[in-house]
Chain length 695, copies 2
Amino acid sequence: MSTASADENSLRRTLAQKQSTIEIQGGAVRQLKSSGASKSEIDAAVQALNALKLEKADIESKLQAAIGGGAGGNSAASRDAFRQNVVNTLERRLFYIPSFKIYRGVAGLYDYGPPGCSVKSNVLAFWRQHFVLEENMLEVDCPCVTPEVVLKASGHVDKFTDLMVKDEKTGTCYRADHLLKDYCKEKLEKDFSLSAEKAAELKHILAVLDDLSAEQLGAKIKEYGITAPDTKNPLSDPYPFNLMFQTSIGPSGMSPGYMRPETAQGIFVNFKDLYYYNGNKLPFAAAQIGQAFRNEISPRQGLLRVREFTLAEIEHFVDPQDKSHPKFTDVAKLEFLMFPRDDQVSGQSAKRLQLGEAVSRGTVNNETLGYFIGRVYLFLTRLGIDKDRLRFRQHLANEMAHYAADCWDAEIESSYGWIECVGIADRSAYDLHAHSEKSSVALVAQEKFSEPREVEKLVITANKKELGLAFKGNQKMVTESLEAMEEKVAMDMKADLESKGEVEFHVCTLGKNVTIKKNMVSISKEKKKEHQRVFTPSVIEPSFGIGRIIYCLYEHSFYTRPSKAGDEQLNVFSFPPLVAPIKCTVFPLVQNQQYEEVAKLISKSLTAAGISHKIDITGTSIGKRYARTDELGVPFAITVDSTSSVTVRERDSKDQVRVDVEKVASVVREVTDGVSTWADVLKMYPLHSSETAEE
Amino acid sequence: MSTASADENSLRRTLAQKQSTIEIQGGAVRQLKSSGASKSEIDAAVQALNALKLEKADIESKLQAAIGGGAGGNSAASRDAFRQNVVNTLERRLFYIPSFKIYRGVAGLYDYGPPGCSVKSNVLAFWRQHFVLEENMLEVDCPCVTPEVVLKASGHVDKFTDLMVKDEKTGTCYRADHLLKDYCKEKLEKDFSLSAEKAAELKHILAVLDDLSAEQLGAKIKEYGITAPDTKNPLSDPYPFNLMFQTSIGPSGMSPGYMRPETAQGIFVNFKDLYYYNGNKLPFAAAQIGQAFRNEISPRQGLLRVREFTLAEIEHFVDPQDKSHPKFTDVAKLEFLMFPRDDQVSGQSAKRLQLGEAVSRGTVNNETLGYFIGRVYLFLTRLGIDKDRLRFRQHLANEMAHYAADCWDAEIESSYGWIECVGIADRSAYDLHAHSEKSSVALVAQEKFSEPREVEKLVITANKKELGLAFKGNQKMVTESLEAMEEKVAMDMKADLESKGEVEFHVCTLGKNVTIKKNMVSISKEKKKEHQRVFTPSVIEPSFGIGRIIYCLYEHSFYTRPSKAGDEQLNVFSFPPLVAPIKCTVFPLVQNQQYEEVAKLISKSLTAAGISHKIDITGTSIGKRYARTDELGVPFAITVDSTSSVTVRERDSKDQVRVDVEKVASVVREVTDGVSTWADVLKMYPLHSSETAEE
């Protein structure tokens, strides 16, 4: 239980006490009135009642603050206002556009407009540089259309579902857990009469929401009397809805297919070829960037929950017996917010840990997982994600798939709360196993021993003749069960047979016990020489939701500052040059043939240097032009105010330096490529101060 | 009729004559035998017959050569062998992989493996640089999932079909035109007894194949007795099959959607926002790179006809009254193979034309279209497409959509023949009109006049009262037809009404003529002052099939050369550095701790310089290591043979220079970035000749 919620609980209790005191006092007032007490007596009692009401109002506002004041200390209202401001700016400047807007759009589908598209391709280019190139990963590019068999093997056909309820009259569909979540949140936030116990119950539901079965969800919806939000009609029982977009491959209508819900499966099915391509050596990583599709029941939260999105996924294949990483020392010294499972369960909050210690203490399962956590931290913060609003949260035991060894989410705090943007999971051998089994193609690796190794192997030999005599038609099933025994079970049986001559044995496939006698089976351990080890590699999977990262980046980069005249608030996106959609603008200070020509000349050299930029030769005031480009997050502006030298302005400091026309493109190139910093530029070139330039 | 096919025709005629001579001579021999002629007489006749047969065989082999010897002078067999060699190399080195191979794959779906994925991302990065950045285009990124209404407006729901036939017993589906095409080609290539007339008929069918209706195709399939290729079962009549992958958006099942068959529609529906983003100014171009989907009936031709592919499309919006282009002079001097409509019709072949002349003579409709043709030529040849196997072919009148003003395809010659890789079409205002109409949102541009302009406008005023009296219930349709008259029709009617008092007028919506009298309508021209012109922009659309370009590039880059020992042919891809999947390899000459450390040091500086590279520290001979990387098209190899300096080898010349360890990363960077050429490097650094180094 965190401090905040402890406060909240004690406030709810105080409030409930105050309420009953008020009721008692109200009763006293009524009593006095009906018993004909004196005016002064009544007045005093009413005054006391009013004082109590004021105290109650005071507690209510404290409670309001305790509920609304999430991390960051902002109230829900101010978070909403902030988000509205960001989103308005993003839509107005076409960072994104609801898709097919002229046809009134489709929920959960968005276009990236020109600056958004540019930010996205910058993020992806940096991802390729930071992961694929730096780690020599094998990048692949597989289709989105996927035949059913692949997604049957991966489990998506059977299990990739959300629970849905329908408005029983209109047929409108809702996500069952969202309705329950909304109910609980609204109650907790707005109902001050809620008892501390009831509040705790609702909080518990929110905590275990993901684990509730259809029956449990349905029962809660009934218990709380939740109805369809739009119509207040009753709701159906929850039932599973598969989130994949289904289609049909080829003209026959006989080959069902789906739009892939993730890119990872394309890598798993190619493991054999990729392993060969890598010279039959482990570890290696394959990577893929591409579209994925989820037919969400009722998308909301804007860019955070959409029906089509770009994923960037890495599958790092590693020997399950050796998950060390040669470059772990490069990241071991990093310190950042981590939120281990135990701290979550014991109600603590995320704290700064050193990655190396987290791995050596076993908080993070292994070095390779730790290495990727560190690399993800570097990736996100270099993009411009605020390190104080980034945490790595470990999955709770009940959140994690049964096969996973460990799993950490990079969560970024936004106005919607903490958002899972990157999942970093040790998925063990699950996926390769599943595809091996379904396809009957062995997806394994070999370790050749430099010298043959002696290993002890369990050998179970069933005497089929004796078993046949004893069990007749059941012989086959008994034999199979005997041969499938694990080492401990088998060795126990061996001991029992030797001491007692017979033993009871449970055959699952028969659903009953049988009596096994000494002559029916021989169990022994034999030593064998092996020249290699064949095993299914483990997979460590960092999976990036690119759209979510970009949206959080927008929120973290956004700020407002007053215009010079002080009459309005101007919007700024403080993107680092790496991410900025346009690196530089070129303005002639005044409309003038000569300046325009210089501007065009500079534009040419910027194009040659590969710097995306924009010329603005409109007659608008220079201040307005700066404001426009600040709102697009353009880090540098070149203003042409002479034919020999120009000024370069940095967006956030608004500092300007004077640079020769011939040099300006290379100066801007160096500072956008990260070869030099703005501080370096300030040292090398004279500061330009112009009162008139800025507005 | 080209020269080749003229040859072929005369050979077919000679062959037919020879055949009948042989038959006559055969008859003569039989006659002699049955009439008991002398042995010497019979022998002489048989000898003559044999001589005739030899002559026939000679003509047949000439005919075979005439048929097989397509452009490039290779026979069909050697083209197939070449292709097999390229494709084997591509698959073995994982440039591409049939998707979901462990599940026996899905026709028409391919993965890009590591080197293919890298080539693709290099091609796309260069496309962005060459088009988007250079021309300041507005790049957008829209979803693949598209609601039905959008593709209804664009015409895809109704018309994006291929004609299909089914095996009447097994239900297997085939493309009707492909079966007819195969039949004609096989007959023409293998049936030497074909008459010149029949051959001409089959060739005509091949020429007009795309224009045949379902009925015409069905009739031909019946006439020629074409059956299902796999079973020889009879085929159904051809019927249209829509090529879009259909799906359903949201959980209700009530919102049909499709996977987009092209990216263009995403741009058209955003025209209004993009025009605003561009400061309400024309011309401007929007661009999009993304996946597109076509559920081909029976995909073949490997990477050339696939069910999912990457398109890169540009929509350049321009005032239909001014299609000049300010940068046209930059490309006007280019000369390359063009194949205008008239030359195709008159049986000539493609010839080198100067682009500027092609535009000024009106061969190419306008400067903007011409500008893009030139830019496409530069793009493709810089990627490494052989300029002699690249032509721009104008669409024939019957190939072009009815609304298109002009259309040219960049066709690249491959082992499959000439392949359409880029379409460059002036689509006029068709798409914006269609979406304006369907969405009721005006997708238009305005031209503000600096001074108001006087324009003459046609004004047609129907007298509804008189029309109502005359036509009763049909009044509305007559009125609408009158008001919709074009200027010439209206002015003719005005003249007729003035001279004759009445006139016959055809009302399409009624399907009959009515008599219009003078008092029913007034027609006049009025002068008005206008302050602006509102119009629907024309669209010029260059559309790139990225996968096709890449496949053709593979074929154009592939060659073999003997190994040093001369005992085998080694494969080489001669990719330019721009495209090469890996720019550089680093090899220690021998396995040795010191050299390995130098190699790792060089690798680090290459990573820092952003150069994708690979270290190979296996003990394989240096010659084998070179051969391996030549087959991946790696342009440069650094061999560490000392701790102070290393050699750099260029792939195609096999020349080597010696460079200091500290300098080598920057030398490789400059030559891969195109800042310097290999010739520059040869001038600056000492040539290294080592007999032992190469194998």
